[in-house]
Symmetry: C3
Subunit: 445 residues, 3 copies
């Protein structure tokens, strides 16, 4: 009976999904495996299954462990609502709120992590050794909610720390053709962590108010992170990848307050194109550890100030000389990006320095062309209302005064770069004998 491969967590006889959906899904996976007994002689036999999670609240007290290919877990709603805003509303006003928690097909991650962190604190843990690599596991359209953050020893409100040792989905070893689509992740220290990905698709998700959002670790190739709404916490990465080749990061709208918007470590021949990136700190896009031959093009970078009172004063520890885009690698292309730096000159660190937009720190042979930098000195303001403050800041285009910036700074450790039409002669700090340079023409030139 083929349709035995369609499961619903609310009708499965083992366990109570509202009390522990982890126990239920693990029992379903055991059932799938028990039924996949054919010898594979007949061109088939292990097609996997779909597990459906209707809208509702499902507490997860047992980690789901996945070691079969072709498993789809699917809900009917990413269910995002801002827990961050809610936790920063005075408690006596909560009674007036329409709802207090995220919704949709919602997993409440309630693992006894006790500070152990990943992967113990992962709601969904995927691991399989041997061959072939586990393939085509799909997560669609449900919500993974870490519920609360914990005190971190700082003066921050505990719910603002982005620390709780919880992970949404953790893929421990080599995998192929996985698909994460239409999901919601919230209040997790790590939303999605994937080791050794091949042809992974992370598409059209809502990943916000998590410590880190998307982390591709180990190594990997030929994956795509596309068309997501993403925003990490101040300690973490919105999009991170290491030792990947042929990664396509495009059409994402990455909002604050991640320590970085896109951080690539030893990543080669990949694309960061056509994204909208917004941050409250320097170091928005980082090409580190000899990340080389990448294309960073047609992106919109906006760096302005934290407008929301609970996070004013928090930052990622980088100063304004670091650059909004910082490259330690070779032969990259940085073409046709727009940069808006909208800051209060009183806040510049180190004091008295000129903020850097593009920094070439090490490596060489990079090609920087046709980038446009807009810089404004504004009076930083903050507000108790997260949303209206941010919109207000976004729509302000009046400078109090001109703001001097260094459009491109090339360190002496980086050479043979080509810098074209990306800043005036005064705005580009580079050894003209070691790099090729053409200034953006000035008026009346």
């Amino acid at each position: 009976m083929t349709s035995a491969n369609h499961y619903d967590v609310t009708t499965w006889p083992v366990g109570d999904p509202t009390e522990d959906i982890g126990e239920v899904i693990n029992a379903i996976i055991a059932d799938i495996k028990a039924r996949q007994t054919v010898t594979d002689e007949d061109e088939g036999g292990r097609p996997g299954a779909v597990i459906y999670i209707p809208p509702g609240d499902y507490r997860l007290r047992t980690q789901v462990v996945i070691d079969i290919s072709f498993l789809r877990i699917e809900g009917s709603g990413h269910g995002f609502t801002s827990s961050s805003i809610r936790f920063n509303v005075p408690e006596d006003e909560w009674v007036d709120l329409h709802e207090l928690w995220p919704g949709g097909s919602r997993i409440l991650v309630d693992l006894p992590v006790d500070g152990e962190g990943e992967p113990t604190g992962a709601a969904f843990y995927i691991e399989r050794r041997g061959s072939p690599r586990i393939s085509s596991v799909e997560f669609l359209s449900f919500c993974i909610d870490g519920l609360h953050f914990n005190p971190d020893g700082s003066e921050l409100h505990p719910e603002n720390t982005y620390v709780n040792g919880k992970t949404g989905i953790y893929v421990a070893n080599a995998n192929d053709s996985f698909r994460i689509n239409g999901m919601g992740f919230i209040y997790l220290e790590h939303a999605l962590t994937v080791y050794n990905a091949d042809a992974l698709s992370v598409h059209d998700n809502f990943i916000a108010e998590c410590g880190s959002c998307i982390e591709l670790r180990g190594w990997g190739q030929a994956s795509k992170i596309t068309d997501n709404l993403i925003g990490a916490g101040f300690k973490g990465h919105s999009i991170y990848a290491e030792n990947h080749g042929g990664l396509l990061i495009t059409a994402n709208n990455v909002f604050p307050r991640g320590a970085s918007s896109v951080h690539l470590n030893g990543v080669t021949r990949s694309s960061v194109t056509n994204n909208r990136l917004h941050s409250f700190y320097p170091g928005m896009v980082v090409l580190a550890a000899n990340s080389s031959e990448n294309l960073v093009a047609s992106n919109h970078f906006l760096r302005d100030h934290e407008p929301w009172t609970p996070f004013v004063g928090v930052d990622n520890g980088l100063d304004d000389l670091y650059g909004l885009l910082c490259v330690s690698g070779s032969n990259n292309s940085v073409i046709g990006n727009h940069f808006s730096e909208v800051i209060d000159s009183q806040s510049i660190r180190p004091i008295g320095t000129t903020p850097v937009i593009i920094r070439l720190m090490a490596g060489g042979g990079n090609y920087i062309s046709s980038n446009h930098v807009v810089a404004m000195d504004v009076h930083a303001k903050s507000s108790d209302s997260a949303f209206s403050a941010q919109v207000d800041a976004l729509l302000t285009t009046e400078a109090s005064d001109g703001l001097a910036i260094t459009a491109v700074m090339v360190d002496s450790e980086s050479a043979r770069n080509t810098i074209l039409d990306s800043g005036s002669d005064a705005q580009v700090s580079a050894d003209r004998a070691a790099n090729a340079f053409r200034a953006t023409p000035a008026i009346g030139f």
Copy 2:
């Protein structure tokens, strides 16, 4: 019982969905609200629900009113077919047609609008006051069909007017993380109207033969309009946004005949990148009302002539000096776009003028680089067959003669712009003392 959160309009006991799906859905929403009685103390309680609409025809005589978060309304097919072509087929040939109407999971909007228009004429009306903002309402994979247009006093066939006072989805106040995905909208005066959006995703929809398609009104931030097939009527907007920041408009294929392809009003720090845009009129992309610090990059602009007889002679009222891209704002970046202007020189208005491609009307500090303009003088032709005429026009790349254009025109109200490699000296009309300019090199230069 959790799976009570999955509804099917065809099995709900109240009302008859084929006669009035509005009544049915409102009854379901009332049921959802009645069941969401928990106190929210236990980290949950109001997860919403999914309402499923199987393929079929469902008349809507009562407006659906939504005031709960986490509601997904989902069908199984966007069901587009061209009503515009059908209504322009002689009536005595209708008997030979395979089908006369759109299909899929199809809502027939049959509200007694009586000329009142929005929001009375909206099939789906979303409004909730107080906090938090209504969140994560999702519309997926069904068809909203306005059925007919009405006479507008002109000589146009009534079904060609794009006027009927009907709206598909109307979101009246501040909202977060909404999702419109895989939908079809047709024959509505307004397809999708959203006020005060935050992190809205309008993705992979089919929105055509509507007066206006996507309208983001009020103000908003951090939203995306991606990967849609869109084409408004000659009176309306394909994509419109006002007072938005951080909006990402990318990967859309926008076809005629919208009065504009993308119209931004007071929009800042947003991206219009990587779209394919096609229009029969000037004013394809408009950055109005001090729209500033936006990136318009890697788009393909095609402006040619209306090829289909029923609409020949109709236009949006703008003349050829207006520009295909018209900017009234500051510090925008226009980089790496392709423009094809393929028109009959006899049709140019004002007569005897030179058509403008990029017009900087007011503001300043814009950066215009690496844009390529192709211009052709062709003999305009029209045909009774909408599809073959348009394909025919699209594939024609033979000019009758050269067509002179002004690649960039900078008005005296706009200054301090930088214009690089986007036209020859003769093709760029700008005060060289007030703007920076480098001509595209000429042959043998």
Copy 3:
């Protein structure tokens, strides 16, 4: 009864879907048509239906024939796993493999093609004559598996030939608003073949290990191929289109080993933007047969060597003078692309020549600006492990030595081109009297 429009192949009374899902789906389509008897007088009547395929293995021995609009066929998993890797594992190791075949909602194409090929060998065949064009047929989230390739007379292992006469989906004539989304295609000689498409969407699919992947034939307009993971065989096309206008090809990650990544034949006013393209041969993007006024921008091109032993020595027959991007057409824009050519200089053919990156073969008026070429001479290596060899090659950024290339070669048959900042004076081979040229500035310039 409206919900009669939702079918499940596993519960339909006619036929056995595990033995012949083709027979079952054809019977369902007959039922849909029999029930669509209304006269269309009442603004409706032929809404189509959805046919659901749960996860499982379904043999297809009868071709599915579709001639109704608004039909959605939907599964719950694209089910990709690499058959190519598996078939190249020694047979005595198969017993140790976790699974041998793709999965998800999987169609096993078992048609008696007997070498007849298309369209006889098509699993899904769509054809309808008359008006209107068949519209809004949707294929979602299932797997079409051609199972095996056949000997082709070469020395290749039969499973490596990419030849079996099978096609996944074949659309024979004019169609509108079709949708292919979330599908998996594997081991088919042709995955998706569509004639005369209008407003087609091919989005977010996994199409790999097929002879050719996406072929848009005949003519067409206003379609999009977006956000797919694609990789054809060495004989075929990953993305092919002919006589199309207004086609948007974006956000795709196209991996080897297609004979081409994107091949456009007589295509006009279309976009190839923002893709990640990887190939083992020249001729990655081909604009042939007077393909004109297209935009090729913000793409990442990587050409390196076949790293996997079973295919070493196989190529597409083109030599290194052909160009990674080859244009025979006019008025195209090639802007802001990154090219990495990472090859063993010993392998260059013809021996002793300088490899070409961008070749303008015929036509004229093309605009080539702000492209960055990186070239490396590496020692080609191969491995028995497909995945690790490829990742290894991808991450290697150390050259054994400099590699001389011709960044842009303009044949005498092409003139009036403009070439800016896309190579040094020595790297651009073009008649300076017939083309406009500005060299990328050199260091110390």
